[in-house]
């Protein structure tokens, strides 16, 4: 097709113009070339729960008396609590921890050995600021002095997988996530259905020719434009409206569900996707958080149904897929006066995939007694989130350049996944 010729022309033009171009300061640059060549590993899907999800009501420590003492109205009833309706009780996992009842759709994933929650994990940062904590976590750095790029971006930049796809990494949502920024251009993809220029074919053809000419060149924005044209070309071959999920999977009709559905479609279409980032928002539950029902339960329903559908839809691909959830920190153990919870510290991660050490809750549980809490009454962090991510990079993504992905951090491998 003629677009291919145009793209080749674009690259030649880029080589001519590159020397004359000043790179804007905003574009993160990496000082190193890909350190290693390896076949690509799993497709990585990173779900960020924005706003600091309440880890204690996500995977409930129902074996802790202190949990119930400190959360008189918000606690999720024990799995055997006869005073509560069965639908309101925690779904027991191991006699001590249980899923929030809204996460019941994840039970088959747990039973398949494809779900590994890691409790009391998080970052060393104790600012309790959403913005600082999210930024540091997406950059994968200890404090602001680290590189400006994101950890997924550095993973992709340090591993040459001989994958020329313009869709090597996508951010689902209106803006691409900070974690993806780096040497590989990344485009935001809100909806495959909307990813076209629109209008009549003649005008679209002319517009694409104009864009190919105007975006010739080596500046970062020009490269993003060339990538966008490449994605356009790739997606034109897909049929998003005719997509039928496998395994009877039913995605929720939410932004999150729609996003996961698109990722699944890209994976099955084999367009070269190596990493996708997607957000689920609304977790900053200072006010009226609710317990088994209410605000947070609604968010968990969306999360649980979405991940369960993704798992069912991609069950045949689980050997080549790792999904990880993150949140910037957890929430305070005692509830506040507004039936909500304030900013805390220790958080929770979920690992899903065919090679996670599933069927058990990982992490050293620090306890909820007064002397076991940190700061103003928060769950302690016993596993650095980078230990989990580093193990994903090493064991599932074939990338051993951990010093560049998480600079200044020496990860401990704890067996959350198998190679």
């Amino acid at each position: 097709m003629s677009m291919t010729d145009t793209r080749r022309g674009v690259i030649q033009a880029a080589a001519v113009l590159a020397s004359a171009v000043a790179w804007p300061a905003w574009m993160p640059r990496l000082a190193f070339a890909p350190a290693q060549t390896a076949p690509r590993g799993d497709t990585l899907v990173v779900v960020f729960l924005r706003g600091a999800a309440d880890a204690l009501n996500l995977v409930v420590p129902h074996g802790e008396a202190a949990y119930y003492n400190r959360r008189p109205t918000l606690a999720i009833p024990r799995p055997d609590d006869r005073r509560a309706s069965a639908a309101a009780r925690a779904v027991d996992l191991d006699g001590f921890f249980g899923l929030h009842p809204a996460l019941r759709p994840l039970l088959p994933v747990w039973e398949a050995g494809h779900l590994a929650p890691i409790h009391a994990c998080g970052a060393p940062d104790e600012s309790r600021s959403h913005f600082r904590a999210m930024e540091l976590m997406e950059r994968g750095v200890e404090d602001e002095r680290g590189p400006a790029s994101g950890w997924i971006g550095r993973h992709l930049a340090t591993l040459n997988t001989s994958n020329p796809s313009p869709l090597r990494a996508v951010g689902l949502g209106q803006l691409p996530q900070r974690s993806l920024s780096g040497a590989v251009p990344v485009s935001a993809l809100r909806s495959i259905v909307d990813f076209h220029l629109g209008g009549d074919a003649r005008a679209v053809n002319q517009m694409q020719a104009a864009l190919a000419s105007l975006y010739a060149g080596g500046e970062p924005l020009n490269r993003l434009g060339q990538e966008t044209l490449g994605i356009l070309e790739t997606l034109q071959a897909l049929d998003p409206l005719g997509y039928v999920p496998a395994g009877g999977a039913r995605y929720p009709e939410s932004e999150f569900g729609l996003g996961l559905r698109q990722i699944a479609m890209l994976i099955k279409a084999e367009v070269g996707l190596e990493a996708a980032a997607i957000d689920a928002g609304g977790w900053d539950t200072h006010f009226a958080q609710g317990g088994s029902e209410g605000l947070m339960a609604a968010l968990l329903t969306d999360l649980g149904q979405g991940l369960a559908a993704f798992h069912a839809d991609l069950f045949a691909h689980m050997n080549r897929l790792t999904i990880v959830t993150l949140s910037e920190f957890g929430r305070r153990v005692p509830e506040n006066a507004s039936l909500g919870t304030d900013h805390g510290h220790g958080s929770l991660m979920l690992l899903l995939g065919g090679h996670v050490a599933g069927g058990r809750v990982h992490g050293q549980w620090p306890g909820l007694a007064a002397e076991q809490l940190v700061g103003p009454g928060d769950l302690a962090v016993t596993t650095d989130y980078r230990d989990v991510l580093a193990e994903v990079c090493l064991r599932r993504l074939n990338n051993s350049a951990l010093g560049e992905i998480f600079p200044g951090f020496t990860p401990t491998l704890r067996g959350f996944l198998t190679a």
Binding site: M27, S187, F195, L214, G225, H286, A337
Partner: protein, 497 residues
């Protein structure tokens, strides 16, 4: 009725050169930032690059009248004129706003409008009217710098209309907090925001009560609104300030949507915030903290940095930030004085700075409309595009406001390209442009459009590459004006200002 963008106007635009060259001599401020002029085809008409940069940064895209004004009086006089917005006749924008009756209503009346309807219509239509009015002001107001600064404070004191009663309280906040104090004293702005029902609802302070305080507003007041994250406060300061703010709430029944201090919900014990000991004094306790915060050096630095980042560069030079912060402290937070330093004096000390700013979606859309002299109702079709680009008004999900650096926006080009094509082909409901069809030969047309949209001539290579690729794609001469305009709007150069 669309105004016609005629050949005569193109040429009048070219005629600005003579006067602007003279004006450039007394406008050194942006002169150091524009860099050398692009290699041009033939004569190089239009504003000098520095004046063009200033104008495209301090407006939502220069209209011809603004180019003429800048050329006539120079940057410094232009900035001073814009810093006194009440002296600028704004009849055309006011005329377009006259049917937006919710803009002027008090909170109780807005709430009553919602109560009168059974289908929640007004929880949508009140914010929709605010969004439409905001876009109308950005497109049509002659008080352009004021609107630019209003948008800055709308991000700084961000409130999402999607939370609780903010659907109607934000309209009051926009009028009585942001617009009332945008170019006044930061103390007054902060004071108004802290007493603003919209803010108290948005950050949960209406639920902050004695016994178990809610820290949300207290934390963001320190982190986002005043001192900044590196401003030297502690978790204890956050918790003590939250206690001082207990009882600051919003009336729910009579006088719904009014600020109220409820002494019964206020923590009566003494507190200490930032070393300031607060003896029990009810509402006055937190107000003493506001007074301290408004003149705190960390606040001065934080605001100076953010304003410099918005108006100058993603990574503004420390010297300019320091000068702006010093002016802030010397004037007890006079916003106009700080802006004057940033826009005029400050820039002169650091020559050769890379000053590119990536247009956020609102800037992109509004500059396209203004520079093509579009006639628009600023209605829902445009807001749909803004949402796809990531910047629907008053909808950012977190209290830090829309990002101000290029990186988060640059990866989302597709909806900008969609908008460019739809606008140029007149396919957007409620919006019309009028391109000069067939008036000029293709090379001249491309040149004039570049001058109109990019403020400069094309280089010969750019122009010929574009025209030959369009030629290869089979574009007929009659199709050229629209496709050239669409291409230029979508081009890398038009994404920066």
């Amino acid at each position: 009725m669309p105004s016609r963008l005629s050949r005569r106007e193109f040429l009048r635009l070219a005629g600005l050169v003579g006067t602007s060259a003279a004006a450039a001599a007394c406008a050194p401020i942006y002169a150091r930032l524009g860099g050398p002029a692009e290699p041009a085809v033939g004569e190089a008409p239009g504003l000098p690059p520095a004046d063009w940069l200033a104008l495209s940064r301090l407006t939502y895209g220069p209209r011809m009248a603004e180019r003429a004004r800048m050329a006539a009086i120079g940057v410094e006089a232009w900035v001073d004129e814009q810093l006194a917005p009440t002296l600028i006749d704004d009849g055309p924008a006011a005329w377009r706003l006259r049917r937006f009756e919710t803009l002027g209503l008090p909170a109780q009346d807005l709430a009553d409008q919602g109560d009168r309807l059974f289908d929640n219509l007004d929880t949508r239509s009140v914010p929709a009217e605010l969004r439409q009015a905001t876009l109308i002001r950005q497109v049509y107001s002659r008080r352009q710098l004021y609107e630019v600064i209003v948008e800055f404070w709308s991000d700084h004191f961000h409130i999402s209309v999607d939370k609780g009663d903010c659907w109607f309280l934000k309209t009051v906040d926009d009028r009585e907090v942001i617009r009332a104090h945008a170019l006044g004293s930061f103390h007054d702005l902060l004071w108004a925001s802290a007493h603003s029902p919209a803010m108290l609802v948005y950050l949960d302070n209406q639920a902050n009560t004695a016994g178990a305080p809610n820290e949300n507003y207290a934390r963001e007041l320190l982190e986002l609104h005043t001192l900044g994250l590196a401003g030297g406060y502690t978790q204890t300061d956050v918790m003590e300030l939250a206690r001082a703010l207990t009882g600051w709430t919003v009336k729910q029944r009579f006088w719904r949507g009014q600020f109220a201090f409820e002494a019964a919900r206020h923590d009566p014990a003494a507190k200490a915030v930032l070393g300031l000991r607060l003896e029990p004094a009810g509402q006055r306790e937190a107000e003493r903290v506001l007074e301290r915060l408004a003149v705190h050096p960390a606040t001065a630095h934080h605001l100076a940095f953010k304003l410099c980042r918005r108006l100058l560069a993603d990574e503004p030079p420390a010297e300019i930030v320091a000068r702006a912060a010093a002016t802030y402290l010397a004037t007890s937070g006079d916003i106009r004085s700080v802006l004057r330093v940033i826009l005029l004096d400050g820039l002169a000390v650091v020559p050769g700075l890379p000053m590119a700013k990536f247009k956020r979606p609102v800037n992109f859309v509004v500059s396209a409309l203004r520079q093509l002299n579009a006639e628009t109702d600023a209605g829902s079709a445009l807001h749909d595009y803004l949402q796809r680009m990531g910047q629907a008004y008053f909808a950012w999900p977190t209290p830090d406001g829309y990002p101000d650096q290029a990186a988060p926006w640059a990866g989302n080009l597709m909806p900008r390209w969609q908008f460019a094509l739809a606008l140029a082909r007149n396919e957007i409901d409620g919006t019309r442009i009028d391109l000069p069809a067939g008036a000029l030969p293709p090379t001249e047309l491309a040149g004039e459009l570049a001058l109109l949209l990019l403020g400069r001539r094309f280089s010969l290579a750019e122009r010929d590459a574009l025209l030959s690729s369009l030629n290869a794609a089979g574009a007929a001469e009659a199709e050229l004006p629209a496709i050239l305009a669409a291409g230029l709007l979508a081009s890398p150069a038009f994404q920066w200002h």
